[in-house]
Structures are given as structure tokens and as C-alpha cells.
């Protein structure tokens, strides 16, 4: 028995939910197949520990508010979407007091006046650069060959914003820094090592890049673009729930626990999908919200693709370097120099840019960072339901941990986790004795559990050669693929990662404009 739809969306990550929602609102009959038993992908909450007594907001434990257009189009407010309290960043250092970084101010002991004054200016300038790039991020990336009218207008808007939005002098500065590394830019702007490292970490966390890697200004601008609609906040689960309800209200059939085994192709044209149990679904179009590499190499299969294209898919760069540590704690952790109220903020352990760079260096050679960098939150302070009474839960991103660690994750995981905890204990003495339960997801675990190839958050590195019209790769820009009626809508596409829903929205618009839907 084969059921027929207008569109099948594969993967109910937030981009899949967004795309399905848009397509359904345009009148299409949409089914959304999700391999896992819950929707939301990396933004979905998860439980761990003895009797699953602890919970965390998800692999993406922090995110910025999504754009107003998306909210309005999908009526997310009606479905309970609420933005968490904006939080600051507390940058820890081993033998100095922590810094507190906000959107437009920074404070802390031993911080010089020049840095304090420069910080808001620097943030404003780079937020301006990010705004200049907005026309590029918020629509399908223009195709340079055979420019279509829409693409021409994107480029015109981009050019206008860069030239006249920024002004001539600032435009020169933008052109100077756009492709260089964040390390050099920060050294020009600031003196304080803690401050530079905290900003640098935001440019590189999630990428196999160090502060000195070319293109890390661009990754930081992408991050800032994400903050355009509000500062970073703790995930509270309402986005995923609202997206799912909105999609269902629009008529999307969501099928959790329903892994897609392969995309059915007839004469170079996608005609449906086959599910793990052998059931087939037919549809006019198939949209993949999972990693493009998995889409092409697993669901479609290299034999169905032209040789050069399949080879380029194999070459997509995107090996994850971030592990996720979840700790169930018997009490509130204590970090040196951090008061209890500051635990509601985001804590960073990345004392200097050199520390970050060295941690990255290890991962290049298959080794875990000797002194890793950490991004730490205590979600149970914002949402007490995440831990039993009197207990707390800590959600920690740990970098740099290579996907293909020497000797394999299976064999080395326990030792690596012990080392990570010991490193953490140098900032939070005694934390080891507070841990009652823990869960650690290596990049290999993230690949297995979330289907993100090589455990990469963004389904492919956000490097310049994999951005814009080259994302995910040449031959599959603008959410199209060489397989007719098969589209992509994941973070692997333009404009990349982050919980913004932009890839899903752009893809849906592209599909609806192209007339593929009819």
C-alpha cells in the first residue's frame, strides 16, 4: 500500500519542520518523516541518567530568537513560542577574575579602559557587517552563471547594503576583514586575552577551525547574523514544540520513528521514499532536511549520481570537533570566581586565543585537546523540571575532540571523559564528586544519534568554499540537486547552521517559486 503526498520532507529537525510548515501553508499535502521518536533534531530536548531523571534542552543548548518573518509566517507565537531570557557570557581564566560580556558592554577586573570602550564599538561594527550580509543569508544564494532576475536583485541589494548601508570607509574595512581570520582582527581591536578568546571562541566553536584559520571572521558574522533578532538565550524547547504544532495545524502529517531508507528515483527523478520497514511513500517532491552527504550517499546512493558530483559530495569538508557532556549534579556546581547568580549565564573556558588554537591543533592530528575549551550552561536553573529536586544538570560543549580520534572512540571514551572532567575540575574544584550521572556524546555519537555525518553541527564546514552558492557543493546550490524533484533544506545548505530556520524557509520558498510544487 503506497500513500501519495505532494511533498515528503525527510528529517524533523527545525529546518525540516520549517520547510514542511511553509509547504503545507502553500496548500501542499505534506508528510514529515523523522527517524527518531521525537521531533526537533539537535534542538530537541533529551533525557539521561539513572531512570532518565535528568534532562537537557538538546544538543543545541543555546540559541537566538528566530526571525520575525518566520514567526509571523508560521504563527509561532500562537503555538507557544517564547524566547528565553537573554544571557551574558562569563569568560573564565585560570588565574584571573572572569569577564562578563554582554551585547554592548564588557566588565571585569583588570580590564583596561580602552578595551571597555572598544567592545561596544566593535560589536556594533560587526553587527553592521552582518546586517550588510543579510540579503545574502535570507534568500536563496544567487547563481552567478545565467543570473536570474531574483538572483540579480539579491546581488543588487547586497551591493547596495555593503556600499551605502556601511558607507565607503566602513565598506573598505569590511572588504579587508571579510575573508581573513578572527585572531588578527581581535589583536588589532583589543588587549585583553580573556576578551579576545571569548569572542574568538564564538567564531570557531562547532567548526574545525582555530582563531587563526582564514574565514573565521565570516563564521563570526554568520553567528552575529543569528543574533539579529535578539541575544543568545537558553533553549526552552518552545521553538521545536511550536514549529511542530504549527506544521500539524497547517496539515503536515508528522511521522516520528519513521526512518527513511532511501529516496526512490525513476529516470533521474525523485518519486518518493522507502521507509525502513519497506513501506513506500510517493510524492511529487522530496525534500531532505538531513545532512546533504547522508542524503546523497545513503538515501540516493553514489550509483545514482554522476561520477564527478558523487566525488565532490565525498570531498565535502565537515568533521565535527565538538563533544557534548551532560552532567547530573547533586548540587549547584561552584566555579572559582563565579557567583551563583552568574551560573544562569553562559560560562566559557577559553582563557587565551593561543589556548583555543592549541586545542584545535591537537584535533588536526586525531588527538583530543590536552586542554580543551568549554561552553557551559546550567539549564536546570532556568527550568527546574530538568533535574530532581535539589539537583542540577550541566550541559557542556567540549572542543576540540576529533571525530576520528586516534584509537577510536569506543576504546578511549572513558579515559577521555575522565580527562575532560579533570580539566573541568581545575575551574570547578570538586565537581567530580558532585556528579551522580553523566552522558557524553562524542562526534561519533552525534553522528549516530542525530545522523549528522561525522558529527558536524552544521552538516558541513562553514568555510568560504562551502558557503553561499557553493553550499553544500557545486552542482547542488539553491536547494536543488541533480536528481529532479529532490531538494535540500538542512543546515548543510545556505546559509548554514544555527537554529534560525533560514535554510528551511529559503528552501520552501525556492520550491514554491520554481513551480515544482504544482
Amino acid at each position: 500500500m503506497t500513500e501519495r503526498y505532494d511533498a515528503i520532507v525527510i528529517g524533523a529537525g527545525h529546518n525540516g519542520l520549517v520547510c514542511a510548515g511553509y509547504l503545507a501553508r502553500a496548500g501542499m499535502r505534506v508528510v514529515l518523516c523523522e527517524a527518531s521518536t521525537a521531533v526537533g533534531g539537535m534542538a530537541a530536548g533529551r533525557r539521561f541518567g539513572d531512570g532518565e531523571r535528568y534532562g537537557v534542552p538538546g544538543l543545541a543548548h543555546l540559541h537566538c530568537p528566530v526571525g520575525k518573518t518566520l514567526c509571523n509566517d508560521l504563527k509561532l507565537d500562537d503555538f507557544g513560542y517564547s524566547v528565553g531570557e537573554p544571557i551574558d557570557t562569563i569568560a573564565l581564566a585560570p588565574d584571573a577574575a572572569p569577564l562578563v560580556l554582554g551585547v554592548d558592554s564588557v566588565k571585569g577586573d583588570a580590564l583596561n579602559d580602552a578595551d571597555i570602550a572598544a567592545y561596544p564599538q566593535f560589536r556594533r561594527r560587526y553587527a553592521g557587517f552582518a546586517a550588510a550580509l543579510a540579503p545574502l543569508f535570507e534568500t536563496k544564494p544567487p547563481r552567478l552563471k545565467n543570473l536570474a532576475t531574483g538572483d540579480l536583485s539579491t546581488l543588487t541589494k547586497l551591493g547596495w547594503k555593503i556600499r551605502f548601508g556601511l558607507g565607503r570607509d566602513i565598506m573598505y574595512e569590511f572588504l579587508r576583514v571579510a575573508a581573513i581570520n578572527i585572531h588578527d582582527v581581535l589583536n588589532e581591536a583589543f588587549d585583553d586575552e580573556r576578551l579576545k578568546a571569548a569572542i574568538a571562541l564564538d567564531a570557531v566553536l562547532g567548526s574545525a577551525m582555530g582563531p587563526r584559520t582564514p574565514g573565521t571572521v565570516l563564521t563570526w558574522l554568520q553567528r552575529l547574523h543569528g543574533e539579529r533578532h535578539g541575544a543568545i538565550a537558553m533553549s526552552n524547547g518552545t521553538l521545536v514544540a511550536a514549529l511542530a504544532q504549527s506544521a500539524e495545524a497547517a496539515g503536515v502529517t508528522i511521522r516520528p520513528g519513521c526512518p527513511v531508507e532511501r529516496v526512490l528515483i525513476d529516470d533521474d527523478r525523485a518519486t518518493g521514499v522507502m521507509l525502513a520497514g519497506g513501506e513506500t511513500l510517493e510524492a511529487g517532491i522530496v525534500v531532505s532536511g538531513i545532512d546533504p552527504r547522508a542524503t546523497f550517499l545513503q538515501l540516493v546512493g553514489a550509483p545514482q549520481l554522476d561520477t564527478m558530483f558523487a566525488n565532490r559530495v565525498r570531498q565535502i569538508r565537515g568533521a565535527g570537533v565538538v563533544g557534548k557532556l551532560h552532567l547530573g549534579l547533586e548540587g549547584l556546581p561552584e566555579f572559582s570566581g563565579v557567583d551563583a547568580s552568574q551560573l544562569r549565564q553562559r560560562l566559557l573556558i577559553a582563557p587565551t586565543m593561543r589556548h583555543v588554537e592549541r586545542a584545535f591543533n591537537c584535533s588536526k592530528y586525531g588527538e583530543c585537546a590536552e586542554h580543551p575549551v568549554f561552553e557551559i550552561t546550567v539549564p536546570s536553573l532556568a527550568d527546574p523540571s530538568l533535574a530532581p529536586e535539589g539537583r542540577h544538570v550541566m550541559s557542556v560543549n567540549v572542543a576540540y575532540l576529533p571525530f576520528d580520534v586516534k584509537g577510536g572512540w569506543q576504546e578511549n571514551k572513558a579515559a577521555i571523559v575522565r580527562h575532560i572532567l579533570a580539566e573541568l575540575a581545575t575551574y570547578a574544584p570538586g565537581i567530580e564528586s558532585q556528579v551522580s550521572d553523566h552522558e557524553f556524546l562524542s562526534p561519533a555519537d552525534i553522528e549516530r544519534e542525530y545522523g549528522a555525518v561525522q558529527g558536524h553541527w552544521h552538516h558541513g564546514e562553514l568555510s568560504i568554499h562551502q558557503s553561499f552558492m557553493l553550499r553544500p557543493l557545486y552542482g547542488a546550490a539553491q536547494y536543488d540537486t541533480p536528481v529532479e524533484q529532490l531538494y535540500l533544506c538542512s543546515a548543510g545548505c545556505h546559509p548554514g547552521g544555527g537554529v534560525t530556520g533560514l535554510a528551511g524557509r529559503n528552501a520552501a520558498k525556492r520550491i514554491l517559486e520554481s513551480g515544482a510544487a504544482s
Binding site: D267, L297, A302, P303, Q304, D306, T307, M308, F309, N311
Partner: protein
């Protein structure tokens, strides 16, 4: 692996047959083919040419690129690789194939031998290992270069069947064109295919390198009875043009080594559209070739008979005498058997059609003085030379 530190003393490799023919060369006119030293002309070009057309020629084929393709997915792999419908290919048969890149541009051509259900050999003009391996993504198939592990001779010409029979290879009488047989020459196991690049009756013999000389000796032992000549690449060039065969890398650029946009060619553009089956199932380049098929033809490699007997050389082609320049000659030869100037030219179509009147403008010398001449060119759709004896089974005995 050990590295021979003195390899530079002999930059060109010798094939397993080399010692048999090293002394036959009267001209010392050698050519490099795939890093092997092979004869360009052994003695006299006209003698070698007529050995192919009216006697028996032997050519050392060893340097040709050969690949072993084996495994449960070998057939589906080949279906993806080549543009031709292989559904009629079966064990013991050979077929001519071409393969393209994603843009539907020709990478190379070759002959595909099927030995067994899952065992094939692909012979190609140029090195293809990287492309063959890259294309194998997702297939359970093993691909190995076997150029240096298989020695090969082309025995071609009207008397080739009789020569091989007399040399002791029995079982050729009912071997049809494009057939393969595993036979023996005395105690030497030899695989014989009725294939070739001359357009004449002929066979290709495949043998283990250690048996190469024994096979050679058996063939040349019947030299007293038949006129047998070792031939070089120059004679081959003449006969392959007569037969209308195109040569990748010479008559058109191979896509993988083309640098400039638009300088590569599709199978349609070189007249190999008959080897493309768009409905056979998917293969690399199909989408691009489908799109090309819908557009008016932009250009074609075209066989031309050029008026007169002056050597035309590398000349431009014009639409009408002193008309618009529309193309250029890629290869040319004087055909002694047809008494005609033959050429294969790359010609731009006008409005999707071959221009009505084609003229070559060329320069030639008369007693060291250069002159310019115009010669009318007459396009041909069939091979210039296809003798009936080429495809007769059993072939005529001499």
C-alpha cells in the same frame, strides 16, 4: 616495493615483444606510446600499409591501457560508466564503448571485453584508473590496471586468419567479429578476439608476458608462406582514418585533460552518437547529453574526401570557397587503396546543419616555394573503406 635507481638510463620501457623486433627496425624510427618504445615505421611505410590491406600485419598492442573489472556489481558499474546500452553484451563478446564526465563530454573510448558473468576487461586509449575508481563509488567491484601484465599483438589483414591458423591457433573459423575465444598456440594459452583498429579482417591476441616471444615466434615462423610485416604507428594512422575511426586526444580533446571552456567534445559532436543510449538507464553525463540532444547540433567531426592529391595537412575548412571559416582538419591521410585524400574535420554547423559547400584552404610547397590552394571537400557518412572480407565468417583462406 624497490625502486630501480638506474631507471633513467632507459626512460622508455620495452614490451615483452621488444627483443623479437628490436633488430627488425631498419629506420630506427621509434615512437613513445604510453611510456613504451614502439616502432613508428619499421622499414617502409608503404610496405606496412599494404601488409594491413592486402597481406598480414602484426603490431605490438601491449602499451594500450588495459583494466580488469571484476565483481558482483561489475555490470551495473559498467552500465553507469559507459553511454552505451550493454544489454546485448554477453560473455565471450566485445563491444565498443565511450564514457563521459558529468557534463556529457567525452573522456575516452575503448573496447569492453566480457570474459565471464562478472569479469571484464576495458581497453582504453589513455590512462583511466582514477576515473574508473572514482566511478566505482557505491559498487561492489574491483578495478585493476593490467596494462603491464598482459602482452598483446594485433594481427590484421586479409590473410590474418590463414596466418594464425597456420601458426597453430585452431578454432578461429567460426569466431565472429567482436567475439572472444580462449585458445592455444602450441602449448601457449592465448586469448583471441576478432577486433582491431584497422577496418580490415583481423584479430587481437592477448597473452601472458612470459609467453610473448613464443607466440611471436609461432606467427613469424609462417613468414615463408605468407607476407607478414611488423607495422608501426604511422601505418596504423593511415588505416584507422580509412576505417573512419576517431582517436581521442588527437581528433578531439579528452574532457579530463581539457583546460579551456568549450574545448571538450560530446559523443554527438564527434559522431559517436550511435554509442549513446539515453534510455538505457542512468549513466554519468546522461542529463547533460539529454539536454544536448534537444538543442540543434552545434558542430560535428565529419569525414571528408578532399579533391586533388596534394597533401592537405592541418588546414582550415570554409563554408564555400573563400567563404566563412567553419572548422579545421584534425587528421588527414592519402589513401593508397582509394586513391583519395581523406580527412576528419571538426566543423561548426550553421543553423543546426552541416554547411552545404565545404572547402579546405591549405598551404603546400612546390620545390620549396609555398603556395596556397583551395580544394573542395565532400562529406561522407560511412567509413571511407569497409572491405567485405572484414566481416565474413569463416574468413577466406589463402
Amino acid at each position: 616495493m624497490t625502486i630501480d635507481r638506474l631507471h633513467f638510463r632507459q626512460p622508455l620501457a620495452h614490451t615483452p615483444f621488444y627483443e623479437a623486433y628490436a633488430d627488425l627496425s631498419k629506420t630506427e624510427n621509434w615512437a613513445t606510446w604510453n611510456s613504451y618504445k614502439v616502432p613508428r615505421i619499421v622499414d617502409k611505410l608503404s610496405v606496412e600499409y599494404f601488409a594491413v590491406r592486402s597481406g598480414c600485419s602484426v603490431m605490438d598492442l601491449t602499451p594500450m591501457e588495459k583494466y580488469r573489472i571484476e565483481g558482483p556489481d561489475a555490470r551495473s558499474y559498467l552500465d553507469k560508466l559507459v553511454t552505451r546500452d550493454l544489454s546485448k553484451l554477453r560473455p565471450g563478446r566485445v563491444t565498443y564503448v565511450v564514457w563521459c564526465n558529468d557534463d556529457g563530454k567525452l573522456i575516452d573510448d575503448g573496447t569492453l571485453f566480457q570474459f565471464d558473468t562478472n569479469r571484464y576487461r576495458l581497453c582504453a586509449q589513455h590512462h583511466q584508473l582514477d576515473w574508473l575508481l572514482m566511478s566505482a563509488d557505491g559498487f561492489d567491484v574491483e578495478i585493476a590496471l593490467e596494462t603491464h601484465d598482459v602482452a598483446a599483438l594485433a594481427v590484421q589483414g586479409p590473410t590474418s586468419y590463414s596466418v594464425l591458423e597456420m601458426a597453430g591457433i585452431a578454432g578461429l573459423e567460426d569466431l565472429e567479429p567482436f567475439g572472444i575465444r580462449e585458445l592455444a598456440c602450441g602449448s601457449v594459452p592465448v586469448v583471441v578476439s576478432r577486433t582491431g583498429y584497422t577496418g580490415d579482417l583481423g584479430y587481437e591476441l592477448w597473452v601472458a608476458p612470459e609467453h610473448a616471444i613464443a607466440l611471436w615466434n609461432s606467427i613469424f615462423a609462417v613468414r615463408g608462406r605468407y607476407d607478414i610485416h611488423l607495422i608501426g604507428l604511422d601505418a596504423l594512422e593511415m588505416v584507422r582514418i580509412e576505417a573512419g575511426f576517431v582517436m581521442p586526444g588527437f581528433d578531439f580533446n579528452c574532457a579530463e585533460t581539457t583546460i579551456r571552456d568549450g574545448y571538450d567534445r560530446s559523443p554527438y559532436e564527434v559522431g559517436l552518437g550511435w554509442a549513446v543510449h539515453l534510455d538505457k538507464g542512468r549513466f554519468t553525463g546522461r542529463k547533460a547529453l539529454r539536454a544536448e540532444k534537444l538543442r540543434p547540433a552545434g558542430r560535428r567531426l565529419t569525414k571528408l574526401v578532399v579533391d586533388g592529391n596534394k597533401p592537405v595537412g592541418e588546414a582550415f575548412i570554409y563554408a564555400g570557397r573563400k567563404g566563412k571559416q567553419v572548422g579545421e582538419i584534425k587528421c588527414t591521410t592519402w589513401s593508397p587503396i582509394l586513391k583519395a585524400n581523406l580527412a576528419i574535420a571538426d566543423i561548426d554547423y550553421i543553423g543546426g546543419k552541416l554547411p552545404d559547400s565545404l572547402w579546405a584552404r591549405f598551404d603546400y610547397q612546390r620545390e620549396l616555394k609555398w603556395r596556397t590552394a583551395w580544394a573542395e571537400c565532400h562529406p561522407q557518412t560511412k567509413p571511407f573503406y569497409t572491405p567485405e572480407h572484414r566481416s565474413k565468417t569463416p574468413p577466406a583462406r589463402f
